[in-house]
Symmetry: C2
Subunit: 365 residues, 2 copies
Amino acid sequence: MSHSPVGMEKWALDTPALLLDLDRLEANIARIVSRCRECGIAWRPHIKGNKTPAIAHKLLSAGAIGITCAKLGEAEIMAAAGIRDILIANQVVGDLKIARLAHLQRHADVMVAVDHPIHIQAISEAARAVGVDVRVLVEIDIGMRRCGVQPGRPALELGHQAHAAPGVRFAGIMGYEGHAMMLPDNEKKPACAEAIGLLAETRAQLEASGLEVGIVSAGGTGTLAFTPACPGLTEIQAGGGIMMDTLYSGGMYVEGLEHALSVLTTVVSHPAPDRAFIDAGRKTTNAEYSLPRVMEKAGVTVTGLSAEHGYLRLEGPGASLQIGEKIELISGYSDLTVCLHDRIHGIRNDRVEVVWDILGRGKLQ
Amino acid sequence: MSHSPVGMEKWALDTPALLLDLDRLEANIARIVSRCRECGIAWRPHIKGNKTPAIAHKLLSAGAIGITCAKLGEAEIMAAAGIRDILIANQVVGDLKIARLAHLQRHADVMVAVDHPIHIQAISEAARAVGVDVRVLVEIDIGMRRCGVQPGRPALELGHQAHAAPGVRFAGIMGYEGHAMMLPDNEKKPACAEAIGLLAETRAQLEASGLEVGIVSAGGTGTLAFTPACPGLTEIQAGGGIMMDTLYSGGMYVEGLEHALSVLTTVVSHPAPDRAFIDAGRKTTNAEYSLPRVMEKAGVTVTGLSAEHGYLRLEGPGASLQIGEKIELISGYSDLTVCLHDRIHGIRNDRVEVVWDILGRGKLQ
C-alpha cells in the first residue's frame, strides 16, 4: 500500500489493477474538444465515470468550460480540488444535502438540476440561510421517461418559479437523450434531433416569455456523433468517452476514440486446455451491459464473470496461456468499473507514470 | 464524515446508506450454526460478502471454527483484526502475492486452494524462504467447470504432490457446487448429493492411498438446505445467508433466514403519478442477478436501475410517495452490494448501534 509503483513496468504491477493509458486518454480528450469546437458548442464533461480530480483538471486544461457531476459528494471533492464551475446534473434532495449544497456554493460555483417546485423551495431556503445564490437548470424529460418535467407549459412554469425564488438563479435547462444511446445510427440521428429539438423549443418558449436561458445542456458519449451538431444546445455533457469501453466501441460507436481504460489481471487457474480463469470478476470490472475484452491475445476471449473470477475460453492453435501470466482487459462499461477501485494507475509507454486515488468513490450522494 | 451517526434514528441518516439489521443478522447466524450442529458439520463462513472484521468476529463468537476469504487482501485484513484460522478458497498466484501469503502465515494460520503443481511449487519456495508451513486444500471440480482439478487420479496426484512438498502441508480438499445454486429444489438436492459425493469419493481414495484428509470443504448459501447433510463433508463455507438478499429469498430459498441487509435511499424525483426515482442505482446496490425490493411500501416496486438512479413504479390506490421520502431496499445480491460501500451501519430497533468500515474492500486480491 505504501510502496509507490510509479516508474514500474505496468506488467510488474500486482493484480487486479486499474490502468489508464495516458496517451490514449489525452488523444480522446483532444478528439472530443475538437469535435465540440467544430460544432461551436461548449464541453462540460461528466466526471461520474472517473471521479478523479486530476482527470477533471486535465479536461479543463484541454478546453472544457467546467465539469458535470452526478452527486453532491463528487462536487464537494472536485471543489476541494480547486474546480469552480460544477453542474450537478441530478436533483439534490434532503435537508442535510441541501444545506451542504448551499455551503458548497461558498467554495465553488455550482449548478443543480430541478424538476419540481419542492426542489426550488428547498434550495431557496437553504441558500438564503447561508447567504448565497445557487444556479439551477430545469431538467426536462426529452423522451427517456426518467427524471425531468415535461416540455412546454410545465417547463415554463418551473422556469419562472426558479427565476422568482430568492437565493435561486435560473441558469437554463438540461435534458438527457438516454433513450437514444442504444439505437442503431440510422435511428439514433433522428432520435437525437427530436430530443434536442424539444430542448430548443422549450428554450425559445422560455425566452419568448421573458427569461434568459444561458445554458442548454445534454449529450452523452453514446450520442456524441450527433448531439454536438444539434441546433439549440450550448453544452455537451459526454464524459465516459475519454476512457472508452467495449459498450461504447461495440453498439455505441464513437469515431476516433481509443480504449484507454483497462484492468490488469492474472491467470490463476487453467484446469483444461480450453478454459482458464483470471483474478478479475464482477467486483473488479463490469459486465452488466457488455463483456470485457482481452487485449492483444489471439484466441482468448472472456465468456463471463462471476463475483471473483473472469472466465476465459481458448480457441485455435495459437491460443495459449500460463498460470501466472498477466492479461489486460478492456472494461465492459467504464462508468461501473472505475467505482469498484480505490486508485487508477496512469500508464505511458507501458510504465506507471502516476497513481491517482479515485477520491469521489464511495461518498454519499 | 467525522460526525458519528451512532445513536441516530436510521431514518435520519443521509442516503444512500448501507444498513444491517443486527437482530436479524444475529438470528440468521444462530440459525445457520444450529443447522450445522444438527448435521454434525463445522462452519467456516465465507466473509467475501461482508469483508468486515467485526462481522467475522461475530461469526466466530457464535460458533464458526474459522473463516473463508476470496482474496489474500481480505485474509490480511482479517489476520490484522486478530483472526487466526483462515481459508483463502481460491488460488493465490504471482511472486508478490505468494510472498505475502508466506509472511501472513507468521500472523495467522492460513490455508489456500491449489489446483495445479505450479501453485504448490510456488508456495513451497516462498514458505521455505520465510521459514513457515502453509496449509493447502486441493480444489476439485465437482461439476461447476470453474477452477479445480478433476476428481479421481488427477486429484490424488496433486494431493500427494502437496503432501511431499517442503513448506506445504496437505490439509484436505475443497469444491464448490456452484452449478447447483440456481436449480429448483427437486433438482438441487440430487445435484448437491452428486457433487458432494465426488468429494467424499476422492477423500476415500486419498485416505486409501495413505494421506490423511482432515478437511473436506464446500457449500454455499444457495445449497444450505442440502449440503450440510451430505455425508463426507467436514465444513460448510456458506456465508452470504447471514445478510440475505432477494436472490437468496427468491429462487434460492433458505428456510428461516431473514433480510438483514438493506440500502436506505431517498425519492429524488417524482415526475409522474406512476413513476418515481431514488438515489440508489448500480453504484449503490446490485441488480445483476435479482432486482432489489422495496420494504414495507404497498404498491411500490423497483422496475430497474441505471448507474445513479433506481426506478420505482407506483400501482394501486394506496401507492403514494413524496419527494424527499426515504425508502429502504432489500438488495438484489448482497455479495455485490456491500463491496460498493465504505461502511455498514449496524441497526437495532431502528437506531444506529454501530458503524463498521468495510475494511476488506478495494484491496488487491
